[in-house]
Symmetry: none
Subunit: 219 residues, 2 copies
Amino acid sequence: MRILLVEDDATLADAVRTHVTRHNHAVDLAEDKESALACLAGVDYALVLLDLRLPDGSGLDILKHIRLKKQMIPVIVLTAHDQISDRIAGLNAGADDYLVKPFDLDELEARIHAVSRRYGASQTPMVELAGFEVYPSEHRIEGKTGERISLSAREWAVLECLLARRNSIVSKSQIEEALYAFGAEIESNTVEVYVSRLRRKLGKEIVETVRGIGYRVAE
Amino acid sequence: MRILLVEDDATLADAVRTHVTRHNHAVDLAEDKESALACLAGVDYALVLLDLRLPDGSGLDILKHIRLKKQMIPVIVLTAHDQISDRIAGLNAGADDYLVKPFDLDELEARIHAVSRRYGASQTPMVELAGFEVYPSEHRIEGKTGERISLSAREWAVLECLLARRNSIVSKSQIEEALYAFGAEIESNTVEVYVSRLRRKLGKEIVETVRGIGYRVAE
DNA sequence: CCTCAGCTGACATCTACCTGAAAAATGGAG
DNA sequence: CTCCATTTTTCAGGTAGATGTCAGCTGAGG
């Protein structure tokens, strides 16, 4: 399992690296935002350990970048004890978990385990959907004839949310929560708009409307 | 959503209970291992909040018991700040998340939401009704030949109300109360109308009229 | 035969939902 | 930084379906 560690404190980074390496993970170290983004672009990591306080700007940018690209990488945020706002910001921006420094290295390992297991369970190689082939892990969807269909980040998010609860109805508010993790109030018919766009791209029958309740993806 | 809270500290338990109740969850409180196991045996909980440090032995046993029974109940562990080893043990034993005391009650609510959503739609109990298959959790009803029948929100509400008190007679006023939560006076024969609509969609024999008393759903 | 609780078709709203387009925000290139 | 392309959000008009009401009908029970 390949892990990206984003941390500017050399001492801590070293300790984490050796400990995590001992548990059979490969660790790449990035000390600033730039090299972190470079690593993320080039390598397919299974998990990211992210210090939000970096010298060249908030590590929050990195987290946002990952979530914007809709990479399904679990992210664990590392924050100092007094930076509660960071913790909240991290969770809001889509972090999967956080650890408060100084943390116990065994706990770090346990969390890595828990978080990646959480992701692993939901990872499906390919899903068939109304004649389309959906590859969630690669953010790719193809039609019967093999043509690729490109979806924007939000469109993907909605589709994934619907697929996650196949054959049950997903309410608009559930979709909203999936789109805008905590905070970030939305006050328009955004969900409807994205359902509409999905239907335009993938066909009307892809999503069924259950009036007054929500939506359900096709069988 | 029914939650089991396992916590021996009365003050904390009370605070959690009132806060969580306010968010429309039903909360049962167990103060020791014994009563916790008794509750788990008798009731089908949607989530468990578990304090690992109980007077009569580690709450870890409870967690292990749940996982051993292969019950798919999400478990959130509550630990004191200095009990790091508990947290690790909890995560390893299959806890879905943990919170460090003292925790923010809003954060608790957020985590409850996140964890239970991760578990997604719980099991799907199917009810048979006069040749139809009714899936209440999915808002879905199918005929013998597998054809789907679509019901509007109100129609569902009436059907659910009748099914909830199967083999006893449900009065019109009971149905009204179920449809129009408090206030919202109704001035016409709405219930009759919806029974009529149900009959048209599902067949006359689906609901039996008990003149002067109310309705009874078919066997 | 009469009465009255219940049934049901019709209809006038009302509301949820759809969708095209404009406005705002975002990200990347030059 | 500025400009352009794309995505995201908002808005408004239109539509189909859901809802509540009523009036006339039906049939059970006296």
